[in-house]
C-alpha cells in the first residue's frame, strides 16, 4: 500500500525548487535560443543550482549529498521540467549518485559541487556535455560514467541544448546495479510530466483569453475537450510515476531487487506520451502563433524530442511492460 501524500519536507522542497526554477529559467531564454542560437553554457547559474544541493539529493550525507529519497528527487525534476530547465541536470544528479554507489567519492563530490557536469549518452550522442565533461551511459546491462576525450558538435534538434557526437571516452566508473535504469526513468519521466503540465496551463490560459466568434475559444468543446485530455494524460502519468519512485527507492533502501521496475516503466511510457501529445495539442490550441519561433509552445515540442530518448530504449520498456510478474505493491 502506497501513500501518495507529500510529506512536509517533500512539500517544502517542491516549493523551493518551484520558486528558484521560475527565476532561473525564464521561458524567454528558450525562445531566444531558438531565434538567435544557443548562448554559451551559463556557468554562474550552474554554480547557484549546485549550491542548493540539487545534484546530490539522493547521495548519502557521508558522501557529500543530502541523503534524501528518490521521491524527493522526482519532485525536483518535475519542477525543472515545468520550466523546461536547460543543462545536463539528470546526467549530473544521477552521475553523482552512481559515482557515490561505486565509492568514487571524488567524482561524486565534483559533480555535486558543480565543478564537473555529466550528460546522458544515447548511442554516440551526448546532451549538454563536451570534451572534458562526463557522460553517463545507462543500459539494462550496466551503468558507466565516462570522461569525454573527443567529441564534435552536431546541430541539436533543440537549440537550447547542446548535442555532441562522442568519438573518444575513458571509462571512470562502472556498476551493474540493476535499479539505475529505473532511477533514470523516474527523473527523466518527472521532467517529461513537468513539460506536459505546463502545456496544460499554457493552453488553458490562452483558451480563456483568446476570442473568436465573439467568445473565448475555451468555450468551444473542440478546444475544451482537448485541454481536458491534456489534463488526463499529465495527471495519470504523474500518479503512476510517483508509485514507481516509491517502489524503485526500495531497491536502494531495503535492497529489494527489481522493485518498481514495471511501475516505473509504466509511468515513463505514460509520461512520454503525455509530453509528446500535450506539446502537440498545445500548438493546435494556440493556432498559428503556436508554431512561431517567438512563442514558447515550440520549446515544449523540442524539449520532448530530446528527453523522450534519455530514459532508455523503447524495446527495453516494452519488454519490461510485457513481463507478467505479480502485480506490485506489497
Amino acid at each position: 500500500m502506497i501513500d501518495l501524500k507529500l510529506s512536509d519536507d517533500e512539500k517544502f522542497l517542491q516549493e523551493s525548487v518551484r520558486d528558484v526554477g521560475a527565476k532561473e529559467f525564464p521561458l524567454d531564454e528558450g525562445i531566444r535560443a531558438g531565434i538567435d542560437g544557443r548562448k554559451p553554457f551559463d556557468e554562474a547559474r550552474w554554480q547557484r543550482l549546485a549550491g542548493l544541493g540539487w545534484f546530490g539529493i539522493c547521495v548519502p550525507e557521508a558522501q557529500g549529498g543530502i541523503g534524501l529519497g528518490l521521491t524527493h528527487e522526482m519532485l525536483v525534476f518535475n519542477e525543472l521540467g515545468k520550466v523546461a530547465a536547460s543543462g545536463p541536470l539528470v546526467g549530473t544528479a544521477l552521475g553523482a549518485y552512481v559515482a557515490a554507489r561505486a565509492k568514487s567519492d571524488e567524482i561524486a563530490a565534483a559533480l555535486i559541487a558543480g565543478q564537473r557536469k555529466a550528460g546522458i549518452l544515447v548511442g554516440d550522442l551526448v546532451v549538454d556535455a563536451g570534451v572534458g565533461d562526463l557522460a553517463l551511459r545507462v543500459t539494462s546491462e550496466g551503468t558507466e560514467l565516462l570522461e569525454i576525450t573527443e567529441a564534435t558538435p552536431v546541430v541539436s534538434v533543440d537549440e537550447a541544448l547542446a548535442v555532441n557526437r562522442v568519438t573518444g571516452t575513458t571509462s571512470l566508473v562502472h556498476i551493474t546495479d540493476d535499479d539505475i535504469p529505473s532511477r533514470l526513468r523516474v527523473l527523466v519521466g518527472a521532467y517529461l510530466v513537468g513539460l506536459a503540465e505546463t502545456t496544460v496551463e499554457m493552453s488553458a490560459d490562452y483558451a480563456k483569453t483568446r476570442e473568436q466568434f465573439g467568445k473565448p475559444i475555451g468555450s468551444f468543446q473542440a478546444v475544451k475537450h482537448r485541454c481536458s485530455e491534456m489534463v488526463t494524460r499529465a495527471y495519470t502519468a504523474k500518479a503512476q510515476l510517483a508509485v514507481g519512485a516509491v517502489l524503485a527507492n526500495l531497491a536502494a533502501t531495503e535492497g529489494i531487487a527489481g522493485s518498481g521496475l514495471l511501475e516505473v516503466a509504466s509511468g515513463y511510457l505514460l509520461a512520454m506520451d503525455a509530453a509528446q501529445q500535450n506539446a502537440d495539442d498545445n500548438i493546435q490550441n494556440h493556432g498559428g502563433i503556436g508554431f512561431t519561433a517567438e512563442h514558447p509552445a515550440g520549446i515544449f515540442v523540442k524539449r520532448t524530442q530530446v528527453y523522450r530518448h534519455l530514459g532508455g530504449k523503447m524495446s527495453d520498456l516494452i519488454q519490461i511492460a510485457l513481463v507478467s510478474p505479480e502485480t506490485s505493491a506489497a
Partner: protein
C-alpha cells in the same frame, strides 16, 4: 510519499487474503439473470458474515468503519484472488447506501441499509430518461403529491439490473415550475409497486442488463423521499461523485487480470514478435498498472474531487475500449466466431457512456478544473 509498512496494515491484508482464499466462490457467476441475482446475494451475504461487507461503511450501519486505505487493500485482495465483483449490488453499495447514510432519516437508514450490506436486496438506479441523458437535470418523469403519497408517471431508461432489483433510487420532477435543478426529488421505490413495468433492453453483445422502466400512476409513500422534497438534485449528486471516484475501483482494478490474459494469448499466437502489437500491448499494460496508482491517489485524496473522478472516468473508459479493440485484432480471423474477446468488444461501448459520458467528463474537467468558460 512512502510505502506503508505499518504492521496493522500488513495484518489486515493477510487477514483479507486468507479469508478470500477460504471463502471466495469457486463457481463462475451464472449467465441467467435470476441465477446471477442469487449468486450475488449469496456472495454479498457471505462477505457480510465474514465481516468484509462494507469495509469503509460506518460501524453503526453494519460496516467495519475503516478508512479508504483499508477499502483499497480489500479491493486489491479481491482482484488478486479473482473474487467476483459486486454485480447487481453495485448500485446498492455504491450509490443508494451512501446516499441514505448521508441524507436519510434514522427510520430510512434502519429500513434499508442493513438489507443492503447483508446481501438481501439488490438496487437499481432510475435516473436517465429517453430525453435526459447527459442533461440529467432536464428529466421529466412527473410525481404529484396525493395525500401522503407521490403518484409517478413517466419513463426511465438504462436502468441496470432493474429486472432483478428489489428497490430503485428514483429521481422524479415534483415542481415543474422551478428551475430545472430545483424541482427534483430523490425517492425510494419498491420494485413490486403496482403500475411499474420493467422491460430489459437487449444490447449488441446479446446481454440484457440495461432496462426501461415505465411508470403508470405508481404510488410511492411520501415517507420514501430522501433528502427532502425538491432537494433531489443535491441528494443525487452526493452519490454520483462517489460513483465517479472510488465507487467503481474494484471493477476497475480487475482490468489488469484481463490484460495479462490477453498478453498470454498474444504470446501463444506468436504476436508479441509483431512490433506494433507489442508496443500497443505494452502501453495498455502500463495503463492497467496505472489504475492502481489512481486508486492510491483516491485514497490520498489530495486533488479536487471533480479532477480525480473525471480523470478516472475518462482514463478507465478509454482503457477498457483500447483493450477490447486490440483483443479483436489479436484473435484475428478466429473472431468470425463469437468468442470471449469479441464479446467483450461488443460489450465495451458503455465504458465511455455510462455514469456520465466521456464528453461530459471533459466538460467537467474543462469548466470546473481548468476554469474554461461554458
Amino acid at each position: 510519499m512512502d510505502l506503508l509498512t505499518d504492521p496493522t496494515i500488513t495484518a489486515f491484508r493477510e487477514e483479507a487474503r486468507t479469508w478470500l482464499e477460504e471463502n471466495k466462490p469457486t463457481e463462475a457467476r451464472p449467465h441467467d439473470d435470476q441465477a446471477a441475482r442469487e449468486f450475488d446475494r449469496a456472495w454479498q451475504h457471505k462477505q457480510y458474515e465474514g465481516g468484509w461487507a462494507g469495509v469503509a461503511w460506518p460501524e453503526e450501519f453494519g460496516g467495519r468503519g475503516l478508512a479508504p486505505l483499508q477499502q483499497m487493500i480489500w479491493y486489491e485482495e479481491m482482484v488478486r484472488a479473482g473474487a467476483p465483483s459486486t454485480g447487481s449490488f453495485t448500485v446498492a453499495l455504491g450509490h443508494a447506501g451512501p446516499t441514505i447514510m448521508a441524507n436519510g432519516t434514522k427510520e430510512q437508514q434502519a429500513l434499508y441499509l442493513d438489507r443492503i450490506i447483508s446481501g438481501d436486496t439488490p438496487w437499481c438506479q432510475g435516473f436517465s430518461e429517453p430525453g435526459s441523458g447527459s442533461d440529467l437535470a432536464s428529466l421529466r418523469t412527473r410525481a404529484v403529491i396525493d395525500g401522503d403519497e407521490l403518484v409517478v408517471n413517466g419513463q426511465k431508461i438504462w436502468t441496470s439490473y432493474a429486472h432483478i432489483a428489489d428497490f430503485q433510487e428514483l429521481l422524479v420532477r415534483t415542481d415543474p415550475e422551478a428551475p430545472k435543478h430545483k424541482g427534483i426529488t430523490w425517492v425510494v421505490m419498491a420494485m413490486d409497486t403496482p403500475g411499474l413495468t420493467v422491460r430489459p433492453i437487449q444490447t449488441i453483445d446479446g446481454n440484457a442488463h440495461f432496462c426501461e422502466c415505465f411508470y403508470d400512476d405508481v404510488r410511492i409513500p411520501l415517507a420514501n423521499v430522501v433528502g427532502g422534497l425538491n432537494n433531489g438534485w443535491r441528494t443525487a449528486m452526493s452519490t454520483l461523485s462517489f460513483e465517479r471516484g472510488m465507487g467503481y475501483l474494484q471493477s476497475r482494478l480487475t482490468i489488469i487480470n484481463e490484460v495479462d490474459k490477453l498478453i498470454e494469448e498474444a504470446r501463444q499466437r506468436k504476436l508479441l514478435e509483431n512490433d506494433r502489437i507489442a508496443y500497443e500491448l505494452a502501453h495498455i499494460r502500463a495503463q492497467a498498472v496505472t489504475v492502481h496508482a489512481l486508486g492510491y491517489d483516491g485514497v490520498a485524496a489530495t486533488s479536487q474531487p471533480e479532477l480525480m473522478s473525471s480523470v478516472n472516468q475518462i482514463f478507465n473508459g478509454e482503457l477498457s475500449k483500447s483493450l477490447a479493440r486490440i483483443a479483436i485484432e489479436i484473435q484475428g480471423d478466429d473472431g468470425l466466431e463469437r468468442t470471449e474477446w469479441n464479446g467483450r468488444y461488443l460489450g465495451s461501448f458503455p465504458a465511455t457512456i455510462a455514469g456520465g459520458s466521456k464528453d461530459i467528463q471533459k466538460n467537467i474537467l474543462g469548466e470546473r478544473v481548468l476554469g474554461l468558460p461554458r
